[in-house]
């Protein structure tokens, strides 16, 4: 948003004094002055923290205020999906071999992690659309709305984890001591979802095709990912699953949760690192796009 920042603080020690700041807006791309660009991003990120918290409190309290079961809604979609698969398994429509792990525990962990990915994927575009009226009128560190979106995804995931814990205990699933480490693949899924979501957000704000396309792709993608059954290793589906960057996340999650050694740990590391880099790139692209998006918002 800020094309070029010359913090007068560079000559002047009054860094905290906003009056000392001069902003210059020109048609030039901020990439022409990379160090000022990065500095402005970091400064906005710092300033965004308090606002992110406020927006998070606002959105969370508004989201569930008019509901009877409140925060439990965060877990309902995953539980419901899991129950459908349990039903299909019990009547023999599908036959998933999960060894000594109760199928409900297996599938619920899968659907909950899948929901985490989908929420993270949708969050950037959703947050931008929700805060459109603020974006076209107020100049503020917009990173805060993404931070708030991420916090909401995490909050809802935390509730899912509690529900998952209760279910695992209730059905006596053989949970390993490494279970707390499932937070690692959870973090990676969050990162992949955010990176893709943020990368698509600018185009998605211009063309609604992006959101429509996402909705179309996400549902079948679940079947190409080991969410409700273990990774397939043979045939076309095996090849697809092997190439699917989400596969290691779910496999590693189940290894941490229920034990068993899979071949996916290295891939898990690589995908996570790529997701991290991708998030940084998506962030830069978003920063460059925002002023151009704002001028089209009212069109």
């Amino acid at each position: 948003m800020i094309t070029e920042v010359s913090d007068a603080a560079e000559q002047n020690p009054a860094r905290e004094n906003p009056s000392a700041m001069t902003r210059v807006y020109t048609p030039a791309s901020p990439l022409r002055t990379p160090s000022a660009f990065v500095k402005s991003i970091l400064r906005d990120a710092r300033q965004a923290r308090i606002l992110a918290w406020r927006l998070f409190v606002r959105d969370i309290s508004a989201q569930y205020r008019q509901t009877a079961i409140g925060y439990l809604w965060a877990a309902v979609p995953s539980v419901f999906t899991a129950l459908v698969w349990v039903l299909l398994q019990s009547v023999g429509v599908i036959n998933v071999d999960t060894g000594n792990i109760p199928y409900i525990a297996y599938v619920l962990a899968g659907t909950m992690f899948w929901q985490l990915f989908v929420d993270a994927l949708n969050a950037p575009l959703k947050m931008l659309s929700q805060n459109r009226s603020m974006l076209i009128r107020v100049n503020f560190p917009t990173e805060a709305i993404f931070a708030s979106g991420l916090a909401q995804v995490l909050f809802s995931f935390a509730i899912k984890l509690v529900v998952l814990g209760v279910v695992l205990a209730a059905v006596g699933a053989p949970v390993k001591w490494t279970a707390p480490a499932i937070l690692l693949p959870a973090f990676s899924l969050l990162l992949i979802g955010t990176a893709l979501g943020l990368l698509l957000a600018p185009a998605g704000m211009l063309y609604q095709d992006i959101q429509q396309g996402l909705n179309v792709i996400v549902a079948p993608l679940m079947f190409l990912t080991p969410v409700i059954y273990a990774a397939v290793t043979v045939g076309v589906l095996g090849k697809i699953m092997r190439a699917n960057p989400l596969t290691p996340m779910f496999e590693v999650m189940r290894e941490f949760l229920f034990g068993g050694v899979g071949p996916y740990l290295a891939e898990f590391g690589i995908v996570s690192a790529v997701a991290l880099v991708l998030t940084a790139v998506a962030w830069l692209v978003y920063r460059l796009s925002l002023p151009i998006l704002v001028e089209r918002f009212e069109a």
Binding site: M1, I2, T3, P18, S19, M21, T22, R23, V24, Y25, T26, P27, A28, S29, P30, L31, R32, Q47, I50, L51, W53, R54, L55, R58, D59, S61, A62, R65, Q66, N131, S133, M134, L135, I136, R137, V138, N139, F140, P141, P202, A203, L206, Y207, V285, L288, S289, P291, I292, L293, V294, E295, R296, A299
Partner: protein, 405 residues
């Protein structure tokens, strides 16, 4: 005081927009691409379906100065505010803003209808200010200033638009920026609150704050601004002292409106061939209108109505010969009829002259000539009086000394 840069400096700024939604979206994608490859947005030409929303606009706002922006809807005023606020990028030129800046563009930006007023104040102050301690300290002040009372703890969706505006204004003025951008918001709320807002803005100016004020309300501009920038179709028409530019703007508005509609009806018996009067008078001066009427048959005791209306069509003076006790007779051929007012205490503005001639009853119209001619009323520069009439009351102050009691 050391010599400082102006609070805002706008230097040969242009901005192009697309009229077509679909093309606009595609240009959006291309423009994002240009940003990413480092080429930026600079351009001197228009692409298909584009127009210049602003073209070569230059002006500056000094520290402690209040500058008004006037112009018709779509003249580019809001685009200019967005550019100054750094929300969008210019196509050409350069804008420099020195100091912290807050925009009062839409007061309810970011209010969530389900949350209470108090919760929304917390969010809004976090959006507008990055220092939490400052925001927390101001919360009570904001709530008190808004005068919402117990409503502050009810959901915002039950607020009237006036209440929303009060809350929004309270938030913005309590953030104490160096520069305030104000877009058409002072007209909201009841009179008491409007006065409070004006006082707050005056306080802000007295403390050295700079303001850019956008308004259609000439009164608001005249009573608040040191200088005015008049923009039309994205181009600066005039920059200068408030009274001068406002006068020029209003005259232009009047000219445009006058040329648009002359509404005349005649059944042939009576024709209005001329209306003679001074073009410009000072408010309160005598005024007379001479009507020249061609009549094809003699009319005994016709009803002649003469009225003056504002540019918005409101009739401010209306006289009818019959009820004024005038005993008229129009002979066949050319007649002259003079109507004289000893004083015409109208406020500044341009007024249209309307004439109706009827026979027997006012409904039996032989002639109706609306906006047939115009005259301008002038008021001394710097007079802040408002309303339709420019009256000269006597002001007397009397004091009851506390000590004497």
């Amino acid at each position: 005081m050391k010599a400082a840069a102006p609070a805002i400096e706008v230097d040969r700024v242009s901005k192009r927009y697309s009229r077509s939604l679909r093309r606009g979206l595609w240009y959006g994608v291309k423009d994002i691409g240009k940003e990413i490859v480092g080429r930026g947005q600079y351009a001197e030409t228009l692409r298909q379906s584009e127009f210049w929303a602003l073209r070569d606009v230059s002006f500056s706002v000094g520290r402690g100065e209040t500058v008004g922006l006037i112009g018709h809807n779509g003249a580019g005023k809001t685009t200019l505010l967005k550019l100054i606020n750094g929300l969008i990028k210019p196509t050409t030129g350069r804008i420099q803003v020195s100091g912290s800046l807050r925009a009062l563009i839409a007061l309810d930006a970011g209010f969530n209808p389900i949350l209470t007023g108090r919760e929304n104040v917390k969010v809004a102050s976090a959006v507008l200010s990055t220092r939490e301690r400052e925001a927390r300290h101001r919360l009570d002040e904001i709530v008190a200033f808004s005068e919402l009372g117990d409503f502050i703890d009810t959901p915002v969706r039950s607020y009237s638009s006036g209440m929303l505006a009060r809350l929004g204004f309270s938030i913005a003025v309590h953030m104490q920026p160096d520069i305030l951008l104000v877009d058409e918001v002072l007209a909201v709320g009841d009179l008491n609150f409007a006065i409070k807002c004006h006082r707050k803005i005056k306080e802000f100016r007295d403390n050295g704050g700079s303001i850019v004020l956008v308004s259609h309300n000439a009164y608001s501009i005249r009573s608040n601004c040191d200088r005015v920038v008049w923009i039309e179709h994205g181009v600066v028409q005039d920059v200068g002292p408030t009274a001068e530019v406002c006068d020029a703007y209003e005259a232009a508005v009047a000219r445009q409106d006058a040329s648009s509609t002359v509404d005349e009806y005649s059944d042939g018996a009576v024709t209005l061939t001329a209306v003679r009067h001074p073009d410009v008078i000072d408010s309160g001066a005598p005024f007379s209108v001479e009507l020249e009427l061609d009549v094809t048959r003699p009319l005994d005791r016709p009803i002649v109505a003469l009225s003056f209306s504002t540019q918005t069509g409101q009739v401010v003076v209306g006289n009818v010969s019959a009820t004024d006790g005038a005993d008229l007779r129009l002979e066949m051929g050319r007649n002259r009829l003079t109507v004289t007012y000893d004083d015409l205490p109208l406020t500044r503005g341009t007024y249209s002259i309307n004439v109706v001639v009827a026979d027997g009853t006012i409904n039996n119209q032989l002639l109706a000539a609306m906006k047939k001619s115009e005259f301008e009323v002038r008021v001394p520069r710097g007079d802040l009086g408002a309303g339709v009439l420019q009256l000269r009351p006597e002001w007397i102050a009397s004091t009851t000394s506390m000590l004497a009691q």
